[in-house]
Symmetry: C2
Subunit: 316 residues, 2 copies
């Protein structure tokens, strides 16, 4: 459905339950919160499905919006969910019942819903929710806040390559409502936990560099996490940490697993294809970001991935 | 002068020399480069004054635009220069001759020029240059590039509090020319030198925390810089490094000086007034960012600034 069709469809329905994806990020939570508030402002009943594994960073945006336990929705809408496998545990009954509308921006959208509003050219699902709510005349400062969180977090505060002129135009329109973006930007882009800082210190101390610094490897052992006092939340996007170093073209993060073995994440910005490298070790992903699992010690995993890189470079 | 008046004025003059401020940043260099290209596209003769102490980050944007040694301009324009004291050594003769036009966004503009185009509500001088060049019909992709550098670097890639809806609107218009922002964002916002990373590691290792982590102090000794292999360029905005730590409200960077003594930089995000604190030690600045110099060792400087904070807090 187009933006206009989706807006009309939302007017025609009621008793909404909005679903976010598992391991939720700013885009799915912000899109859900904005849509929920917009629908309520239109006089509709609308709630967000709880139990999405909220993080302390995004949970505040859901305040007052979560569905009561006995809520029986008539209309189920998913936001920013590309595939059936990405529904939360709490969302499983809805998946069995059937999703009425999916609003999404992923090119990999599986079209699991009866109706779909998809624009794969958008940096964030929040941009699409913005266009729908604008069509419905619902862009207030209260709604602009979660939409700004959705849009800005999915494009790294306008730094990533997915940022378009439209992304900036949406941000401008949201700021026109009087929204104060500074505390949001400080919270989401300019704040590090103490534990995260220690993780970065320890990685800087212990990383290995090869090929004149073009390849950087960060061995992240369980004891490193212990020493830093870090939880999984502190490790968010740690694979990007090495990629920012001047001259690094291939960055590899090796995470030691509790159950034994290692999980590797490979990011490339030069000519090397990360998927080809990880495929040799049974993994996969995109050309610029891929992953794989290696049974063995961290040293063995490091040797295995370096060998895989040599093999791919040898064929190039 | 208004944007329209400035555009008309630029049409009426010729043989331009454009001046940037000393210790140049992305805004002054990007604004100068865009203005120079725009004037040349209009058939004017235009050059940028060389010898501004270019940095390796911004020098490439000046390529082909610097004035030949014997160039005699008819019209001198300064961009992003608020005060006479901020002219470069190479710009001094122009200052004596007289500046014809100043284009600027600083509230502290000293009105040293015959004509001034000032908009203190703009995050970057580049936004004003954009409006002028748009008026003149000169926004090409080639001009959008330095303008994007100017605008994005002065607002921390749309993260700082000076970012407005207009800032985003300018960014959108620049991207509409087909400009690829990703390599620019990677260069200016997502790249750290190896030495900078070592500086951050050593600061993390050696910082002191007080009042349950609300105050953080980074002692940056000359030996720390040696150990990290850092130059002044690697230390850019290092005072912001501590401020990003969760819970830190007051961050203090103490730089040991070659000539003896220490330079202190104080940043606050809580209720404390940084200028009041630094004034006690003979310094000054803004409420949220101030500085001072202390004669003595780094330990003495640290004690002095902690005492000054206590004194200000005691009076609050």
């Amino acid at each position: 459905m187009t933006i206009q069709e989706t807006a009309a469809w939302l007017k025609d329905h009621d008793c909404y339950l909005i679903l976010t994806h598992k391991r939720p990020d700013g885009d799915t939570i912000g899109s859900a919160a904005a849509l929920c508030r917009g629908l309520r402002n239109m006089g509709k009943t609308a709630h967000i499905c709880p139990g999405t594994g909220e993080t302390h960073l995004f949970t505040p945006y859901l305040e007052g919006l979560l569905a009561p336990e006995d809520y029986q929705p008539d209309t189920v809408v998913s936001v920013d969910i590309a595939a059936k496998g990405l529904f939360t545990q709490a969302g499983q009954p809805c998946l069995e019942r059937g999703i009425d509308l999916a609003i999404d921006h992923h090119p990999s959208q599986e079209f699991f819903a009866k109706e779909t509003c998809l624009d794969a050219g958008r940096a964030a699902c929040g941009e699409i929710v913005y266009e729908i709510l604008k069509e419905l005349g619902q862009i207030t400062a209260e709604i602009a806040l979660p939409l700004y969180v959705a849009v800005s977090t999915d494009c790294g505060c306008f730094q990533y390559g997915n940022t378009t002129a439209d992304t900036h135009r949406v941000a401008a329109a949201l700021m026109d409502t009087g929204l104060d973006i500074f505390p949001l930007n400080k919270r989401h882009f300019r704040t590090k936990t103490w534990a995260r800082l220690q993780v970065e210190r320890l990685i800087t101390e212990r990383m290995h560099r090869y090929e004149e610094g073009k390849i950087a490897v960060a061995p992240v052992s369980l004891s490193l996490l212990d020493e830093a006092g870090a939880t999984e939340e502190d490790m968010e996007d740690i694979a990007a940490f090495l990629g920012q170093i001047e001259g690094v073209e291939t960055s590899i993060t090796i995470r030691e697993l509790k159950e034994g073995g290692c999980k590797l994440s490979v990011r490339t910005s030069g000519g090397l294809n990360a998927t080809q490298v990880c495929a040799i070790l049974g993994g996969g992903g995109h050309a610029a970001a891929a992953g794989c699992t290696v049974n063995g010690t961290m040293e063995q995993a490091e040797q295995a991935i370096l060998d895989a890189i040599k093999q791919v470079e040898g064929h190039a």
